[in-house]
């Protein structure tokens, strides 16, 4: 069980006023809010042991290194990863994807094919388009059905022998739909194709075990999990990561440097050139602790309650259409009211102190698929309440009335 009013006290920003009313933050799919425990972890680092990691012999550096590596261990345990060296800290999901796409440049040829889906975030489309441009390989797209779900039959027929990779999100950031990721991975593997899962949206809402999923690569961002911005991680099976060239050259990623030849460091340092976001990585560890102290089972069931309540309430509004209204989804609702432009609804909601996202949500292909300029997206987290949803639904009604 979740004591939401007790939890809310951990989040200083939730007591903020916007336009003289209480902030109602329903843009959690863009970024989650940060609990005091995570904020304290950041300031504790700068106050007490700010120091560069893996380099110094002095006590501060040892402290910082240990704390930094503790997060790697926490990520390993939380995500069911076999080895800590398979975890690369990144600046976020997009960075993780770009490490792989740039690494594959010399390993993909013009005969090869890559698969993405129609519901991907632009971050999981554009890097692969760039890879195709450089290598002459072909990008194929799994279409989505009218209900927003992936067309798995089409996926099966796209999985031809030339397909080397499948790039797929676990959860759609726009529709909230949870994809049958295990089935997608197993089908790809039986075709000898590798799979990268974009976990940006899924990781915050339920626990996953990457070893059980048998996924080849997985990327996620800390800031969706109550952690700081500018931090994320890339998981890759060690043999695959070992076969990839480094992404950036610099300090930390080498074992021996002469002007004749430089030898690269072993995993994970090979991909962690330069001074990382040390405070951020440490705070990411605190964020995982925080979320686990609440419990992902609790988070999942509470958010489901919020989702069902909000969906039911919104559906009572005349002419309101929800996109991707299916059973298998996280607490994200994308909708439009009549022909009102989503930015009009969003602007009025903002005046009520309600933060939602409007527009294309970096998923233009979904908007083109449904032939709409965008949607209003409300995304709920475990610190949102039913009374906030009441106020939100009421504000949508008022906005719709104002717009006439």
């Amino acid at each position: 069980m979740i004591d939401v009013y007790k939890i809310r006290k951990d989040f200083p920003i939730l007591s903020k006023k916007i336009n003289n009313t209480d902030l109602i933050y329903l843009d959690n799919a863009a970024t989650s809010q940060t609990p005091i425990q995570v904020i304290d972890a950041i300031s504790d680092y700068y106050k007490n042991y700010n120091s560069n990691i893996h380099r110094g012999l002095h006590s501060l550096s040892v402290d910082a290194t240990n704390k930094f590596e503790e997060t790697r261990l926490k990520v390993k345990e939380h995500f069911g990863i076999a080895h800590t060296h398979e975890i690369i800290f990144t600046s976020g999901t997009t960075h993780g994807i770009n490490i792989i796409s740039s690494g594959l440049e010399k390993m993909i040829s013009s005969k090869d094919e890559l698969i993405v889906s129609e519901m991907e975030h632009h971050s999981n489309i554009v890097p692969w388009q760039m890879l195709c441009e450089k290598t002459g390989s072909k990008l194929k797209v799994i279409p989505i059905k009218d209900d927003g779900t992936l067309n798995i039959d089409e996926y099966k027929s796209l999985l031809t022998p030339n397909v080397k990779f499948v790039f797929i999100n676990h959860v759609s950031n726009t529709l909230g739909i949870v994809n049958p990721i295990k089935e997608i991975i197993d089908l790809a593997h039986s075709n000898k194709s590798q799979v990268l899962v974009d976990g940006a949206q899924g990781a915050a809402h339920f626990k996953i075990n990457l070893s059980e999923l048998d996924v080849d690569y997985y990327v996620a961002s800390a800031h969706k999990l109550c952690g700081p911005t500018g931090v994320g991680f890339l998981y890759g099976k060690s043999d695959l990561l070992n076969s990839l060239p480094p992404y950036q050259g610099g300090g930390e990623m080498i074992s021996n440097v002469t002007f004749n030849k430089t030898e690269y460091a072993d995993l994970p340092h090979k991909f962690e050139a330069g001074t990382p976001n040390i405070a951020g990585v440490i705070a990411f560890g605190s964020a995982l602790d925080y979320m686990n102290s609440i419990g992902f089972d609790n988070i999942e069931s509470y958010e489901k309650t919020l989702l069902d309540y909000a969906t039911e309430s919104l559906k009572k509004i005349t002419n309101l259409k929800i996109y991707g209204d299916i059973e298998e989804k996280i607490s994200v609702i994308s909708f439009n009211v009549g022909n009102h432009h989503p930015s009009d609804i969003g602007s009025i909601l903002d005046q009520f102190g309600i933060a939602v996202r409007t527009g294309q949500h970096c998923t233009q292909p979904i908007m083109d698929r449904f032939n709409i300029p965008g949607t209003v997206r409300a995304s709920f987290s475990f610190y949102n309440t039913k009374s906030e949803i009441d106020l939100f639904v009421d504000a949508v009604k008022k906005a719709s009335k104002m717009l006439g």
Binding site: H341, S343, Q351, P373, M402, L403, G404
Partner: protein, 140 residues
Amino acid sequence: MESIQKKQDQIIEEFNFFQDWSEKYQYLIDLGKTLPEFDQNNKIDSNLIKGCQSKVWLNSSFNDNIIIFEADSDAIISKGIISLLVKVFSGHKPEEILEANIDFIEKIGLDSHLSQTRANGLLSMIKQIKIYAIAYQAKQ
């Protein structure tokens, strides 16, 4: 034709009557709805203003040293905002537009109700109006 400053002052006076944001928004929405029909043939990419979340088209014509603006948007609040701009700037000489001190947006408190994204969109609209004025001035 009243001067650009006079027209801005009238808008400021009108907005002074509004008690809160909802009245301002309602006014913009109503204004958006009454904006004259935009020629569909002018809804072309080259008339689109970059930097707006919704689509905003701005078209202009130049006759007898006077610029006539017409505009449209697929979002009604944007349409209301651009119709204020059309009201202020349309029917003026390029040099009048370029010399104008645009103060009404701040004075009607619209900027404080706009998100950064929206405020950038509004700046893009004004910039585009001035670009047209510069282009027509060069043509003279």
